[in-house]
Structure formats: C-alpha cells, structure tokens
Symmetry: C2
Amino acid sequence: MTEYALAVDLGGTKVESALVDEHGAVLAASRHRRPTGSASTSEQLAAAVTGAVADALAALPADARLAGAGIGSAGPIAGTSGDVSPLNLPAWRDYPLGGLVAGLLPHGVPVTLRMDGICITLAEIWTGAARGEENVMGMIVSTGVGGGLVLGGHVVTGRSGNAGHIGHVQVAGFDDLCACGARGCLEAVASGPRSVAWARSEGFTGATGEDLAAAARTGDEVARAAIERSATAVGRAIASASALVDLDVVAIGGGFSHVADDYVALVQQAVSEHSDFAFVTSTRVVASALSGEGPLVGAAALVHRRDLVV
Amino acid sequence: MTEYALAVDLGGTKVESALVDEHGAVLAASRHRRPTGSASTSEQLAAAVTGAVADALAALPADARLAGAGIGSAGPIAGTSGDVSPLNLPAWRDYPLGGLVAGLLPHGVPVTLRMDGICITLAEIWTGAARGEENVMGMIVSTGVGGGLVLGGHVVTGRSGNAGHIGHVQVAGFDDLCACGARGCLEAVASGPRSVAWARSEGFTGATGEDLAAAARTGDEVARAAIERSATAVGRAIASASALVDLDVVAIGGGFSHVADDYVALVQQAVSEHSDFAFVTSTRVVASALSGEGPLVGAAALVHRRDLVV
C-alpha cells in the first residue's frame, strides 16, 4: 500500500498542497494552490489553506494510506507547536496553522510544521543536491534570502523553531539597512531587489533581476558588478556559517541564483578564498537540484524522513 | 565507587590535566600543568602532555575507577579521531593527541577529544551559567574569541570537529584584517589585543586589557569607547549566530569579558536592540559561571555527560 504525506507549503503569495509518496514523488493530480497575500484577512488565509488541503486530500487513491501531514511555513514561526507568524502575512500572528490542518484530517493523523527553509534543506538531502550529506545548509536567494540547517544528520530547529535565518547573518564591510531593522544583513545586501537597487544607484536603468541578468549577458559592467557583489556577500555569509557550524555542503536555489550561469561558482570562489581555515574554505557550494516541487517535497520529508527531523 | 574522568586541556601556553568526579568536582591533588608554547617541538609537546597526564593519574584513589578520558584542545582539530592542529602550536599538525593519551591509560579506557570551546560550553551546561539549557553558545573573549554550540541538547561537532568558531563570524560595518586571513571577523574587532590596538589608534597610551579597564574606570572616554565597541561587535555576532541557530542563552567568559563590570550587560543590550526579530533579540546573554577549572570540567563532561556529546 502506498503511503502518502499531505504536504502544505505556506508562502507570502500562495499556499500549495499535494500528496507526496515515500520516494518523494508528487502525485500530480493532487497538487493545488490558492492565493494568500499580505492584504488577506485571517479568515481568507484560513479559507485558502482549507481549500488547497481539501483539494489535495480528495486525490488520495482509495488503496493508499495517509501517513501524516507536513507543513512548511514562511517564518517566523512559534516553536514546534504548529503556530505561525509569517512576516509577510500580517493577519496571522501566532496563528495555529498546524491545528487548522489537523482539523481537516482523519483523527490521529500526525501533523508536523517547520520553517520553509528547513523543508527546502530536507528536500535537498532527500532527493536533491545534498543527498546523504550530514552537515548541510539549504539556501534560497530570491526576493529574500532564507535557509535551513541539518547538522550531524538532524534538523536544527532551535529554541523557537526559527533556526536557518541565513539572510540575517551579517556581512563584513556592509551596513545596508535590513527589513528586520538591523544593518548589514545578507538579505539587505544580496537579495534580488537589493542587487537591482545597488545597480540602479550605479546608473543601471533596469528594474528587475531579469533585466540585470540580460544586461550582464550583453556585457553591462554595472550589472555584472551587482551580480558579483551579491555572490561575494553570499559567500562571506556562508563562510561565517561554516565557521560556526562546520558545514559539508551548501545548496543554493531561488530565482536570483539563476541571474548568471556562474552565480553559484562565484559564491564557491568567495568561500574558497575566504581565509586560511581549511575547514571553512573546503565547504562545497552547489546549485539546488530541486524543481518547483521542492517546497512540497520538503514538507513531505517532515513525514517520510522523520529520521532527519527528530 | 567514585568514577573519575581524566580531563586534559591543551592550550597555546600550557597543558593541564586532572581527575574530575561525576559531579564535576576536580580532585585538587590531581591537577597538574606543563608549559607548551609556539616554539615547542613535537617531542616537547608530547613530553608536556605525558607529564601532566601521568601526574594526574598518579592521584587516582585506590578505591576509585577511571571511567574515561576527555580532552579539550585548542583548534582547529581534525574530526573526532583525536588528531589536532592547534593554530598556536605549529609543531603539531594532524598530531594524534587522542592516541598519545590513550597510550598512557589502562587498555580499553575510552578517550574522547573535542575543541576547547565545545568543552567550555559543556561545562556551562553541566555546572555553570546555562544549567539544563538546550540551545547554548559558550564564548571566551580573551586574546582570541572562541566558543562552542549545544543545540537541541546535543553538541554540534560539525564535519571536521571545528564547529563553534564564533570568533570568525563576520561583523557588519567592519573590515579589520583577521589572523585567519579574512576581514571583519569578530575576533579581529573585539578581542582584548584588538580592542587595545583600536584605543591606541585613538590616542590611548596603555598597552593591555588591564590598562584599558583601569582607564575606563577613571573616566577615559577612549578606553570606554573601546570597551563598548568590543561589546557591541560581540552582540552583533551573537545576533547573527542566533538568527542562524536560534539560541536560548549565550554564556560569556574569558579575561576581556571582565574589562568592565557592565561588559556582559553591554553585549546583552546590543543583542536586545539588534532587530525586530524577537527570536533573535530575546537571546539571553549571561556571564560565565565557571571558575578557572572550567576547561577541565568541560573536558570531563566528554566522559560524564555523554548524553550531551552523542
């Protein structure tokens, strides 16, 4: 009998849900989404989650078993209780998302909720670019910069469930104001929008990461410098992280990581040349091997790969 | 029957050894030391360790049992095999310190070696300022800046045994050249010698951390600014660390942490005011509760508190 996990991925613009089997395969017919968004009320958000989950559950084959539900949520979250306070969904503060999903399932089906960055990292280890590795950081470089950690073969959850905020590790030599209120955070320096803003301050006239990519391909020096600036900052933050937790491998995904063919190589170069500490500079930086299904596969890993979670 | 651990603490200027019981008490008559130093040959270092260990073992009471040996070593180390490459002891590179100590013990007595910063952290959890806590960073602010991590109640060892190098986490807004070759590392900004050097660049005429402490007490504004600069940098690095691993408590010891009565309070203030992320700013910063026996107690924790190590 096939065992499925119900996977839920809650983000700032949409919620997705699907059934995922023990091998990490998403049951195509079960994948459904609803919009979320910062203007949504709490009731609208709850209706979006309920709708996506109900649609996914309706696709459960008659001869299959539901092993559990895994939820990846935009952070911050509140511990491992299932309560969430996503920065970009202000209607939900300490909202019991885990409880909401549990109420949609047959009695007794276990529900596990973690930050989306943790789920991405689990997906890289389960089916992606860090298969079988024990000391891993998964990273997303996009509108924001986020991530998650697995150390010694186990997820790092942290006191409040918020471990993995690599975007809010500081980068030497910068003091850009961050949305979190601090200065010099990686996200404030290296995200897609911040990289475009820096290029514009140097005379670039494009407006998006895609514009930056296109300009760099045609030899625009400012666009190229903006890309190198981002990759170098990401490399420095990885070096800080590896000094602190001694990583094997960092897998980088997210839209802005595709801004140049050599973006991940530039990050690796910044790490490799960072210092005289071999345990830092030997940290491998690789491109994510996840598809757009990565967040759902990672949420399902909370069920199917409990060996990594507890 | 009392069970003792043989504890060994290898540092850049000395090696110490002692017997430590199951309650973390050091058997006074068993505590012995030998000088080490960067000019020592490999043979001299081996003789120093052998001498200190032999003296400690000779104090084992007739009715007691030797449960194991725990070694805390200056870093970097090479994995968990017992091999060490201490930065300040150049004669030893991938030297089998664990094997050397095992050869001095009765056959079959287990030997465990970890970085000294990890041992300090274990000591804080076992008998110090972080008793019973699960997500802890122990820190030393002295000639260098080092530390160790316990997350989810378990030591973070890392791929190569070098997790805990908080001194080589970068600090935004700084680009001071570090001994490790990178720029803007916490150690390069906030250590005792670097704080004195900064004060001297601003006109201070003293030469030591003690001079800085004395001048600040009498109202010297540059000395006070140097102390606040160090504490603020330490706070920022702690904020980066807590963003990444979501800490409960950070315990700070080391000579320079005593440079002002409010040094730890200044660090706490920098953390508390760092950003809008409550999971970061609520990280508690406390003064170490360890005596000078802390490194030996921590090495013994590798034996007596294996629940934290594995």
